[in-house]
């Protein structure tokens, strides 16, 4: 059986508080905290992008797996912010990680679902026997237009998962994907910021897809919400995952470990993968974990996972998600933030 043999996450140190963004636009910070349940978000530094985040997370995954990088036969990165429109992110990442050149590499895009999509394909290749090891990464330096609700959430970070067949840290018991043509959020070629359809991104997009994918995987696996110790849903804001969890019959206790959005923000393709990494940082052997991602457009991938005996002894080999969320941070003013996000027009 195939499963996760290594995982790693990375979150930049720069942060901006919801209050600082709200102050700039004359918005009520209390309403943001209450409505979106967002306190602060991570911000990439000038030298951080999807590639550097992928390298940091991928390195941690290799450390935890303890395998020779040369044995990785495939690497996929899902992101909405690949630094180049044409030229892969993955080629830089394999070189930096010492993988290849005997390797299949691709960059994926499926709005916020691209990370679990990369995981899904990597897992499938290992299951098929075509490669011994495959890595799936979800990472983003998410875009949100100034003065849009997304500006409070769009953040930077990601997680990498290495799949193999031996020495599993986590068994993958079931997977399921649910996809429809539901255009709730998009960014066209050449545009800086994504556009969205306001409340249409809720009920017909996020809630329908996350709800259906989760219900279906439960039905097919014969499991119920009570069987799980942890559950992770895609986190576009603080409120949506809590609301869908409640609707599906999960408790706050099952959600809270992976619910890292109030301090991290929405790392788009990295969101649910990083939430899962936070769960793996603390899960006990035998714990069942449910993950359902969401990507606008729209679709959801669901995974039923089970922690093995090996997980506790391997996780100490790389930094935990919490250590990056709660560890050293640097708070930016809005002015510094727009400089770091290259929103200020300067001469070359």
């Amino acid at each position: 059986m195939a499963g996760i043999v290594g995982y790693g996450a990375f979150i930049p140190r720069n942060r901006i508080k919801s209050e600082e963004i709200a102050r700039q636009w004359g918005k009520d910070p209390a309403a943001i905290r209450r409505g979106l349940l967002l306190e602060e978000k991570s911000v990439p530094g000038l030298d951080e992008d999807t590639i550097t985040i992928s390298v940091a997370a991928g390195r941690a995954a290799l450390e935890r797996a303890g395998i020779d990088p040369q044995r990785v036969g495939a690497l996929y990165i899902g992101s909405e912010s690949h630094p180049y429109a044409v030229k892969p992110s993955g080629t830089v990442v394999i070189e930096a990680l010492g993988i290849g050149p005997d390797v299949h590499v691709a960059d994926f895009e499926f709005a916020c679902k691209a990370g679990t999509e990369a995981m899904f394909v990597a897992l499938s290749l290992v299951e098929s026997g075509r490669v011994d090891y495959a890595m799936g990464i979800g990472a983003d330096t998410s875009q949100g237009a100034p003065n849009d609700a997304l500006e409070f959430s769009a953040s930077a970070g990601g997680a990498a998962y290495l799949f193999g067949k031996q020495h599993l840290l986590v068994d993958v018991l079931h997977t399921y994907s649910f996809t429809t043509d539901t255009p709730d959020f998009w960014r066209r070629e050449g545009e800086f910021y994504p556009r969205h359809t306001g409340r249409f991104t809720g009920e017909p997009a996020y809630f329908r897809h996350v709800g259906t994918a989760t219900r279906t995987i439960l039905e097919r696996s014969g499991l119920t919400p009570k069987d799980f110790r942890y559950v992770v849903f895609h986190m576009p804001n603080g409120k949506f995952p809590q609301a869908v969890g409640k609707e599906l019959g999960f408790t706050k206790q099952q959600l809270e470990t992976g619910w890292i959005v109030p301090k991290m923000g929405n790392t788009y393709s990295g969101s649910s993968p990083t939430g899962l990494a936070a769960v793996l940082d603390v899960a006990d052997p035998g714990d069942l974990i449910l993950v359902t991602s969401f990507g606008s457009g729209a679709g959801s991938d669901s995974f039923v996972l089970k922690a093995t005996e090996l997980l506790p002894e391997r996780r100490g080999r790389a930094p935990t998600v919490r250590s990056m969320l709660d560890g050293p941070r640097r708070y930016l003013t809005y002015g510094e933030y727009v400089k770091y996000r290259e929103k200020i027009i300067v001469n070359e």
Partner: protein, 382 residues
Amino acid sequence: MRDVAVVGLGMTPFGELWQHSLRSLSVEAALEAMRDAGADMLDGVYLGNMAGGQFVGQEHLGPLLADHLGMRGVPVTRVESACASGGVALRSAFFEVASGASDLVLAMGVEKMNDGADATNVLATAADQETEAYHGITFPGLYAMIARAHMAEHGTTLEDLAAVSVKNHRHGARNPKAQFRQEVTLEQVMASSLVADPLRLLHCSPVSDGAAAVLLCPLDRAKEFTDRPVKIRASGMATSSMALAERRDPAFLDAVSLSGSRAYHMAGLGPADIDVAEVHDCFSIAEICVIEALCFAEQGKGGAAARTGETALGGRLPVNPSGGLKSKGHPVGATGIAQVIEIVEQLRGEAGERQVQDARIGLTQNMGGSGGSSVVHIFERV
């Protein structure tokens, strides 16, 4: 003129109906009204719709409706008077039947607002473009100025405004077709997000999809279609200055007052005869101004009515037992007809948990823009 009765009712739920289109909503409401009356033909339809062209890019709604209703050939007239489109559609249908020109006429309204358009901008086209909208003001802004004027002139308080929302949500919680079927507290209203000072989110009606239809026929044929016909006693309509700045008193809605007087005159009734009313609470301040203009409250004293329970279910004159635009939802073209449906259900004694005891005479008031147009109808159980 012949006496006219309402003999059939049809209404979709109101809300964010992502799976429903302008045409499917219209057809659903129309068919339900015809089925309710057991009618299988129509002489004509008046369809109230404010902005199908802007919300979903669809004009020429007459043939669209007739076609998809399976009734090609039937004359359908689209009626527009901003948020009063539904009420004016009823007025047009009423006169067509009263005149003797037609027997079976459907009065209906529809609006599909949640389909990607910027609703605030679309609605702002109901303001005066040259003197208001071009300068950036939106409807929350206009009604906020009306609220400010009312507070300054009459001492109306923020609690008075909030009490209207609390009351209407309490009513709407009992309405299975309402968009927001939950109660809110005074504290929640007063702490909700500021939209246009002093109006907060919970002072404002929502952006909604929905359709509503009522079937009219001559009163002397009403028994062919229903055991409980409701007679239309009067229709009054009036216009006022388009721009708020041109009004003699921004805190007084003179089109409402004039449309009300005309309806009272036509019915030979006065405000004291009304047992239940549905009025246009697009913003909480609107309900306060409307009940004053209709003489349900003394001018300047409307602020206290919701707070003291006078206009609540069980009070002296229940106003907006359906939940009003605030809680039931406000698909603008459909609102005027949905008000009629609530009043007819009240007069038929079919309003369930929202029933006003022994209601015999009911009134609807439907407003366009910031009060540039208003239409009032009075109904009686027969």
